[in-house]
């Protein structure tokens, strides 16, 4: 039996005066990977920010349930602690805050929420080493301030690394491949694929089909004018690659 993890119903949202999400419906069950593809400016990133609760993104109507709970009523940190994770298109730099300090606060905030004891320094270092090895995150990177001076590839690797230590139930990948060369893309995709299992779900937001060669989705949705205009399996992505989005953009 399929258990729904995320249920988005008839969602409308705006940024300032501009309505961007218009009647969006999507249910993601446990273990499923959905790709949302669409032309630039369709509101793909807005969707990721609405789901993670970024200030300035206002819900007009509709509902989003996560594990049956009202996601929209939660603060951004509550959503993260409940298991929502966003790999950002442009990860934010935080000068003065060492990456390891940042990660320790993050991991322990999530653990505390689940009534787990906080990790002590030794346990935490062990966790960082184990997961860091897979993604080429070394001690030197962890000492540096969060994302400061990181290359595009390093930033995305760091995002994937964070996901691998927080082990969220639901991950949103917002243009995870932007700015990556093919080798960096493979490292990130391998990291993401290693986390796929029958419980964990993902929403892969992308403009290009390229990423979906590496992170193969169960479902593909075409997103235009604020909502899903067509759904299919992974072959839909190939079709879009060939024909482009013109057909969908014209529809409106």
């Amino acid at each position: 039996m399929k258990i729904p993890l995320l249920e988005i119903e008839d969602l409308y949202a705006r940024v300032g005066d501009k309505e961007i999400i218009k009647g969006f419906n999507l249910t993601i069950n446990e273990g499923e990977v959905h790709a949302v593809m669409g032309p630039n400016g369709a509101g793909k990133s807005t969707l990721s920010y609405v789901l993670t609760g970024k200030p300035g993104y206002e819900i007009i109507s509709g509902s989003v349930k996560f594990k049956g709970k009202d996601l929209l009523a939660m603060s951004p940190e509550e959503r993260a602690r409940e298991g929502v994770f966003l790999i950002m298109q442009y990860p934010v730099e935080i000068p003065g805050v060492p990456t390891s300090t940042f990660l320790k606060h993050s991991v322990n905030a999530v653990r505390k929420h689940h009534h787990l004891p906080e990790l002590d320094t030794m346990e935490f270092i062990k966790l960082l080493r184990e997961e860091g090895k897979k993604l080429g995150i070394d001690n030197e990177m962890l000492k540096r301030p969060v994302n400061v001076g990181f290359s595009g590839g390093e930033k995305k690797r760091m995002e994937t690394f964070q996901m691998s230590i927080l082990k969220p139930d639901f991950a949103i990948l917002d243009e995870a491949d932007s700015g990556l060369d093919i080798d960096a893309l493979k490292v990130v995709a391998d990291g993401v694929n290693a986390l796929r299992n029958e419980k964990r779900s993902m929403l892969v937001i992308t403009h290009y089909q390229r990423l979906l060669n590496y992170i193969v989705p169960d479902f593909v949705h075409v997103f235009a004018d604020g909502h899903i205009v067509k759904s299919g399996d992974k072959n839909l992505a190939l079709e879009l690659e060939e024909k482009g989005y013109a057909e969908f953009v014209r529809e409106k």
Binding site: T52, G53, K54, P55, S75, P76, E77, R79, A80, R81, F85, L86, M88, P91, V92, E93, I94, P95, G96, V97, T101, F102, H105, S106, A109, V110, H113, P145, V146, Q162, L166
Partner: protein, 416 residues
């Protein structure tokens, strides 16, 4: 207030030169009075009107008052409510620490230094302090003596509901080639709303090729006032470095005047302030380059929340013959609320050619993108803010050479 001064029969008045210093202070204060908004040096910080507040001066030590601990090893000099508390640690060879009044009476050297740097005509609260001169400490470090542990002056206020007024007067003399660290720590216990007024004056003599690292933590009760003036004279190849963190008091002013008197004298005057509520915390500096090849650096950073006001007045003066000098100054502040205020007045007076001088000021707010990024990783918004505040003050705190003292300040930045 002035009447009060005359009423008191202070010890030491039988020593003529000392009595003269007190009288000069009293007269100078009488001429100036409490600064008002029209007083240029005090245009952003309005001191309390002492006349209308019933302040009390105490002369006896509360024996029960114990000295708070600091989390590092040091030679502790304790004051309780501004009164010397004689329980102290053993001092190594080459260091002399005397209560001020004992120094005045029994150490003839005191006369050579006391009152020589403090300009009572320019600083009304220092004039007031001079008229009351009684409590404080005289520290002298002998030639080429290098102290392994810091000297730690702790003033612990337990005034309760008494409106105490106390004046501390400290005199620090480093002879040629001496090296030391000096920590000033002002704290309180008991009622957080207790009102008192600490008026502190330090005079620091840095001999040739000697160095003092001076740290101060002002953590007074939030209804109290703390006004302090430190005047420093640095001789050839000498170095005076200071860092002051102000986080307490209703009106707090930490004023530092450094006179770089001879060639190659150096100073770094750093400060940080962190505040909420309705406090005004003022950092005022005046660095005077009187000789060639002198250097000064000032880095002051503040975090202001609530309806509080941060003030920075920073002055660099370069005398006509002080060529090849360098003066750097930077003030940055983070405003946490719409009602927080920053007043910043950099002042450069450069009368020499061939000098390097710079100043800068900036203010900003917490970055919402950074906050959201941290929240999206599960970190609570308030915790995220505190992490960004710590990060903001990190560079100035990292100037502190002593690792243990550095961690002590970092803990104090984190603790509300």
């Amino acid at each position: 207030m002035a009447n009060l001064v005359q009423d008191i029969k202070l010890i030491g008045n039988e020593i003529l030169w000392f009595r003269q210093l007190r009288e000069n202070g009293l007269e100078a204060f009488g001429r100036q009075g409490i600064p008002t908004a029209k007083t240029e040096a005090w245009k952003y910080t309005k001191p309390r009107n002492l006349n209308t507040d019933d302040f009390v001066i105490e002369f006896s030590l509360d024996e029960k008052n114990s000295c708070p601990k600091v989390p590092f090893d040091g030679y502790c000099i304790c004051f309780s409510n501004g009164i010397f508390n004689p329980a102290q640690t053993k001092l190594p060879q080459g260091v002399e620490v005397l209560p001020l009044i004992e120094a005045v009476m029994f150490n003839s050297e005191t006369r050579l230094f006391l009152g020589k740097l403090t300009d009572v005509e320019k600083y009304p609260f220092a004039a007031l302090n001079s008229s009351y001169m009684n409590e404080g400490v005289f520290i002298r470090i002998d030639k080429n003596v290098s102290l392994k542990k810091p000297l730690v002056l702790i003033n612990h206020t337990t005034s309760g509901n008494k409106n105490l007024f106390f004046n501390l007067r400290n005199l620090i003399v480093l002879e040629e080639g001496a090296e030391a660290e000096f920590v000033e720590y002002y704290t309180y216990s008991g009622d957080v709303k207790s009102r008192y007024f600490a008026n502190v004056v330090n005079e620091v003599f840095i001999g040739r090729n000697s160095r003092l690292n001076h740290y101060k933590l002002q953590n007074e009760a939030f209804k109290s006032d703390h006004i302090a003036l430190t005047t420093v004279q640095v001789k050839r190849d000498g170095e005076y470095n200071s860092f002051c963190l102000q986080k307490g008091a209703d009106i707090g002013r930490n004023e530092t005047r450094v006179i770089l008197k001879e060639e190659n004298a150096r100073t770094n005057v750093d400060a940080a302030y962190i505040m909420n509520g309705w406090a005004t915390l003022d950092t005022t500096t005046d660095v005077e380059h009187l000789a060639p090849y002198t250097y000064s650096g000032q880095l002051v950073k503040g975090v202001v929340g609530g309806d509080a006001k941060g003030v920075f007045q920073g002055k660099i003066h370069i005398a006509p013959h002080a060529v090849k000098t360098e003066g750097r100054q930077l003030h940055k502040a983070l405003l946490l609320t719409d009602t927080a205020e920053i007043d910043c007045k950099p002042e450069l007076e450069i009368f020499a050619d061939d000098v390097k001088c710079s100043h800068g000021a900036a203010s900003g707010e917490l970055d919402e993108e950074q906050l959201f990024y941290m929240q999206s990783r599960g970190i609570g918004r308030e915790e995220a803010k505190q992490m960004l505040i710590d990060a903001y003050l990190d560079d100035v705190v990292n100037h502190i050479a002593n690792e243990k003292i550095k961690s002590w300040f970092k803990e104090n930045i984190q603790a509300k």
